[in-house]
Amino acid sequence: MKTTIRGLLAVLATTTMLAGIAEARTLKWARSGDALTLDPHGQNEGPTTALNNHIYEALTERDHAGKLGPALATSWQVLPSDSKVWEFKLRPGVKFHDGSPLTADDVVFSYQRAMQPTSDFKGYLTSVAEVVKVDDLTVHIKTKGPDPLLVNNTTSIMIMSKAWAEKNNATKAQDFKNKEENFSVRNAMGTGPYTLVSREPDVKTVLKRNDNYWGKGSVPLEVSEIVYTPIKADATRVAALLSGEVDFVQDVPVQDIQRLKGDQKLRVTSGPENRTIFFGMDMGAKDLKSDNVEGKNPFADKRVRQAMNMAINRTAIQRVVMRGESVPTGIIMPPFVNGWTKELDEAPPTDVNAAKKLLADAGYPNGFSVTLHCPNDRYVNDEAICQAAVGMWGAIGIKVNLVSQSKSIHFTLIQKNPAETEFYMVGWGVPTYDSHYIFSFMYHTRAGSLGSWNATGYSNKDVDAKIVSLTSETDIAKRNATIADVWKTLKDEVVYLPIHHQALSYAMKSNLDIPVDVANTPKLKSVVFKGS
């Protein structure tokens, strides 16, 4: 009896589900930029991942709040017998879009593909020594040393069909840098909730619901068709939503949020992004080229850095420039990251007089002048933030010349060695949710693959050693203690001038309610249409 009721309920559930599914509902999705490629291992870039995630899936996935959960793998663990082996149990019954079943062979193949030199995702798997199939639904990932945090990286490695890749000669990950194109760049076949219908890069990509999706029943899957359109100009994008041509807009300009919120036909959701905006300055150089101080580098003096940090009125930036769509901070680490604490996050209070005094103590009673480089098309109101900060530094006597340009030029200045900027803005996201990612890129002495974004000239042997030690530390508590220790030093040194954690807003028709995804990769399979 019990079983029959349950069976009945199941049937009922399925039929209602099917009824829901049967209804054709198109969702027109717009954002500022297009995916660069459909090759799941071609480009490690936000918009690319956001689109590809609808076609391909990884072993694990994060929900919109950043919480790790199962996807193609149902469970995972470090083998108790061997701390260097991660075991993943695959979800049974998963089918690719072409109907073939997902097996451990596909996972092994995909990981090997992602680890190829041409892959843009190899960075996530540097600790991996080997991926082996145990049985059809079990995979072992063997690491070079113990890697307790490896599972965090598996969300980014999407799984392809080995047979499909072999058939279409796409077994090699696209070498994006080398202008290479393969079948998988414009074609895609995964296990995801949507299948590719057509794609015109930079114009339009159409996806159709995968009616054999394994998650059917556990996710709403109400959107039967996704029309993805990149619309670059802010005003046009907002206009498209206001005029009803698109249903869902990412990258909503902060100044338009109020207007959109006020529109009865629209809904706006907001939330923090896993990204922090800050300024960096060259404290390592003997003398700055762009300043008016001869023979010494004002940035080398910690008091100057402190003064500049105190001069920034973060609340004003949040209120006026960001219209509340940001969280002021005193650390360049988003709250999602392992190592974040409320104390670290605290910014010094704005104090112009104290700042002036510090400047005077440092020997610059009349301030100095310097050039600031700023991107104007990368972060939310990046240029306006720079302008505001320039005014605030002006108030303590530091005359800052602002040069704002496209990200394509801006990032070059920072990445060159030696860097071609002495004062710059950067925003940093942390896909691994761990402080080490920030340390190794932003704080470690510039050497080889380490510190490649550290254009400050900051170099601290002790800190460097601690950063390196994090990669092989298996004792989580000890590791976290090191992280806290390193952050304390770094914050005290005022290596960067943090501004805020960037917030995101999505705008959509009022019958939708898509929460902001912390990684800014919304998952439309979860979309539920309301009031119908």
Partner: protein, 328 residues
């Protein structure tokens, strides 16, 4: 005429090479493709390796020679950003720009000539003055403001017309057209008007002044003295003579229409070459930028040739006497 055509073509080729050099040399120094193509985790070694592979370390004459050689075969390499062949990208985007530009040029020429003739004939009428004033406002309004204004009125407030894109397109071979669907046609209206407006005012004012100039010509007085009707004189004798310079300017303006499409396409998110170019500039996508510049140059050379041919059709003096025939 044959020799003349040969000379025109030779000159055109020279122009193309010159523009190719400009295209090549300027974009060699602008931006840094390497930084764009590598993600945020790139190491210095990655960067050097990539420069080497892209041939960015070769001496520039070698790069230029390669560039010319490839350009001659329509080959501009692979887009740094999209990792696709530029020739494919151009082919994909060309229909959108051509439909927009040609329609705009037609609208501008047709209404430009029509209004120009009207205001030239009715020099003092109220409507003429109104048209002339509006045309001046048109010249004084930047294209992007017109586009933004149209979007605001017709897409956002009235919701009559789509605010961006081409709508539904139909593929005919490799060509995609928006003319065969309703949404495609609706999508064309605002961009075409935006793009046409400036050219329209230009052509209108040109037609007006040329026409007034022609109306002062002796043969017009003589035509009057022969008792021909005023309309016949205006629409047959004067207009036909006006058309020669107008065709020249209008023809040469096609290049300008295509380049102004950069702004229009940006405002309306029109998936054409202009938008491709702006995107390319943003990412310092050298091959795409170079190809676009060459495309504009090619359009210039071709329209020049067509204009020359039209000359022969419109002005009989050139058919026999060559270009040096004594003009009026």
């Amino acid at each position: 005429m044959f020799a003349y055509s040969i000379r025109s073509i030779a000159q055109g080729l020279l122009v193309l090479v010159a523009v190719a050099f400009i295209a090549f040399s300027m974009f060699r120094f602008v931006g840094d493709p390497v930084a764009n193509m590598l993600g945020q985790e790139a190491t210095l070694q990655d960067r050097q390796e990539l420069s080497e592979r892209l041939g960015l370390n070769d001496p520039w004459p070698v790069q230029f020679a390669q560039f010319i050689g490839n350009a001659a075969t329509g080959e501009f390499g692979v887009s740094y950003r999209q990792a696709r062949k530029v020739s494919d990208l151009i082919k994909e985007r060309l229909p959108a720009t051509v439909e927009l530009a040609v329609l705009s040029a037609l609208v501008a020429t047709f209404f430009g000539v029509l209004l120009g003739v009207y205001v030239a004939i009715n020099r003092t009428g109220f409507l003429s003055n109104a048209i002339m004033s509006i045309s001046l406002i048109g010249v004084s309004l930047p294209t992007f403001l017109i586009g933004i204004g149209l979007i605001y009125i017709f897409a956002v407030e009235l919701r009559w017309l789509p605010s961006f894109g081409r709508g539904e397109t139909v593929k005919i071979g490799w060509w995609s057209t928006g003319l065969l669907t309703e949404s495609g046609r609706k999508s064309l209206i605002m961009p075409v008007l935006t793009l046409a407006f400036f050219q329209l005012t230009l052509i209108m004012r040109l037609v007006r002044s040329e026409m007034l100039e022609v109306m002062r010509a002796d043969f017009i007085r003589f035509a009057r003295a022969r008792g021909l009707g005023e309309r016949v004189i205006e629409l047959r004798h004067a207009l036909r003579n006006t058309l020669v310079p107008v065709v020249t300017i209008a023809g040469l303006q096609l290049g300008s229409v295509i380049a102004f499409a950069i702004v229009t396409e940006t405002v309306f998110q029109w998936p054409g070459l202009g938008a491709l170019f702006v995107n390319a500039v943003q990412f310092a996508d050298v091959p795409v930028m170079a190809a676009y510049l060459m495309f504009v140059a090619a359009v210039f050379v071709i329209t020049n040739l067509i204009v020359d041919l039209l000359y022969f059709l419109l002005d009989p003096r050139l058919r026999t006497g060559g270009r040096t025939a004594k003009g009026h």
